[in-house]
């Protein structure tokens, strides 16, 4: 009886999550504007065809992928050595530095949007995916360090010492031993950096007023006097695909990434 109640509850949660989405997915397969040859409100792939014919929308998808990949690589690249330092050593100011990272992780992007806009406009980093990739580091580097540190700390110290005795240098130890040993941790870190960067819109908007627009801003630009709502929902569905795929890949490690100190 007890497990039946649990299943019903889980089904209710699933419905709560999926039903609002289902409506959006359904709309994306329907022509929402009067067009010759297609009945309005009937099943159609017209929205997806329109995306594949639109250079602007395809460029936006590409921009999103460029900035998000760049951001994940950057965060892993600087996050891994930093996480190693936090996990293995204590040093002057380590607590203060950890606190600073925590502060920047929780600072809402709208609070930083004006300062960043002013600074990036002055040094010519606006309207490019590189600018967005850099800016998103402000909340993703702390996340990367936080998750990776937990995974590194769960590897016994002897593991490092053996490698160093075998004559490995620090970079060679990182790539040949540490990265394979915490591979699930790298995956979980990449996942969280990916989603937090992918969904962020406030900084992405203020930095791409005239060009370099990611998917989210391209969708914003679709709203107008006579919005093609089907096209909007089709772009939204496409924007979900990479994230859902990543969730699927890390599903068994998802919960492990957070068993960590604060």
């Amino acid at each position: 009886m007890k497990s039946l109640g649990r299943i019903i509850l889980f089904a209710a949660i699933g419905a709560f999550v999926l039903v609002p989405l289902a409506q959006t997915i359904m709309t994306s397969f329907v022509s929402t504007l009067p067009r010759s040859g297609i009945v309005e409100g009937h099943f159609s792939l017209i929205n997806y065809q329109n995306i594949s014919h639109s250079a602007v929308l395809k460029q936006a998808i590409l921009n999103s992928i460029i900035y998000v990949v760049l951001n994940v690589v950057l965060c892993l690249g600087v996050g891994l050595p930093a996480a190693y330092a936090f996990a293995r050593y204590s040093f002057v100011g380590d607590r203060q530095l950890f606190f600073l990272l925590l502060v920047f992780r929780i600072t809402p992007t709208v609070v930083l949007s004006l300062p960043i806009f002013v600074l990036f406009a002055q040094i010519g980093l606006e309207n490019t995916p590189v600018g967005i990739a850099l800016v998103h580091c402000v909340f993703n580097i702390p996340i990367a360090i936080w998750i990776l540190e937990g995974f590194i700390a769960s590897v016994p110290r002897e593991f490092d010492e053996t490698a160093f005795l075998d004559g490995h240098s620090l970079p060679s130890f990182f790539f040949r031993h540490l990265v394979p040993a915490i591979a699930p941790g790298i995956g979980v870190t990449a996942f969280f950096c990916f989603i937090f960067s992918w969904v962020e819109v406030v900084l992405a908007r203020i930095l791409t007023t005239t060009g370099g627009k990611p998917i989210t801003m391209a969708i914003n630009a679709l709203f107008g006097f006579r919005t093609d709502f089907g096209l909007v929902t089709a772009m939204t569905v496409l924007a979900l695909v990479p994230g859902v795929a990543m969730i699927y890949f890390v599903r068994n490690h998802l919960a492990k990434g957070f068993v960590i100190r604060t």
């Binding site: 649990r6 699933g14 999550v17 300062p115 819109v201 924007a239 859902v244 998802l254 919960a255 492990k256």
Partner: protein, 292 residues
């Protein structure tokens, strides 16, 4: 104990350089602007603390602050207990169910933030939306545009839809780090389920739960794009939260006032982070052992 070695700074340096560049430097620049009247960025006129005085003496600021606190309080009192409860049920479930529920519940986390209100407005639309038509059919006079209570309900439900997954993932991570020996010991002592929760599970989940609390508090306290798109702070400013005031001023390119407001809000964040740290390290002076 970890060895003391200051050359570890070389390892954290690259991360620190980037965070300085995209976090600290902009804040320093904007502090400068907050003391000036900038018709354009090339024409600064020193006004001292005028912008700050305007903010802290305006009734609107305190009203928004109050609304933001209320929203956070409601959101936390729903999402935290619900998330913990789901995590507890998951812990006793089959592996396959666990990963299915975790995958499902984290899907809203990957929806771009500007699309979340679009999805929900679509969903509650009285003519086309599934929920909207359902409510109309039930005879509920649901009007999120002009009824403040209904706008609040939409925002709270939408926020729960969006973020419940994060709380569940964090809570489940905490629970699954508990070694089975703890439960065996509890069984030998004939502990009730409540005692197991109160004295084993809750203490073990403390670290991740405090993180969930902090993240959820901060994000709901400064909710911006989602709230703005639903009703732009309305009806009659009933959902005008702190961030909406700031967003309004940035949109209007009032450099000075919005710079001052950014600094005030950052100080609020700093205070919250600091008191959070003080509260958690008082009770747990040493870091917990890593999970195996």
């Amino acid at each position: 104990m970890k060895p003391y070695d200051n050359s570890a700074w070389f390892l954290v340096l690259p991360a620190l350089v980037i965070v300085t560049f995209v976090g600290i430097l902009p804040l320093v620049a904007v502090t400068n602007y907050s003391f000036q009247d900038l018709f354009s960025l090339n024409n600064p006129y020193w006004v001292g603390i005028d912008w700050y005085r305007n903010i802290v003496t305006s009734e609107r600021f305190y009203a928004s602050l109050g609304r933001s606190f209320l929203f956070s309080a409601i959101v936390l009192s729903i999402q935290l207990p619900l998330g913990i409860w789901i995590a507890l049920l998951l812990q006793r479930s089959h592996r396959f169910i666990v990963s299915t529920v975790l995958v499902l519940i984290t899907v809203p986390l990957v929806v771009p933030w500007n699309m979340i209100p679009v999805i929900w407005l679509n969903f509650i639309n009285p003519n086309m939306g599934l929920a909207g038509r359902m409510l109309a059919w039930l005879g509920v006079g649901f009007d999120y545009k002009f009824n403040a209570l209904h706008t609040w309900i939409v925002l709270v439900v939408m926020d729960t839809w969006h973020w419940l997954g994060l709380v569940v993932v964090l809570a489940y991570a905490g629970i699954s780090s508990i070694p089975p020996a703890y439960y065996q010991a509890a069984a030998i002592d004939a502990a009730s389920p409540w005692q197991v929760f109160r004295f084993i599970q809750l203490p073990k989940m403390k670290t991740v739960l405090s993180m969930a609390l902090l993240l959820r508090f901060m994000d709901s306290f400064m909710i911006y794009i989602e709230a703005f798109r639903i009703n732009a702070g309305g009806p009659d400013s009933a959902t005008a939260f702190l961030s909406l005031d700031l967003g309004e001023e940035i949109q209007a390119f009032n450099y000075g006032p919005s710079a001052a407001r950014s600094i005030v809000y950052f100080l609020i964040v700093l205070t919250i982070a600091w008191s959070f740290k003080a509260a958690t390290s008082m009770r747990a002076p040493v870091t917990m052992a890593p999970a195996k």
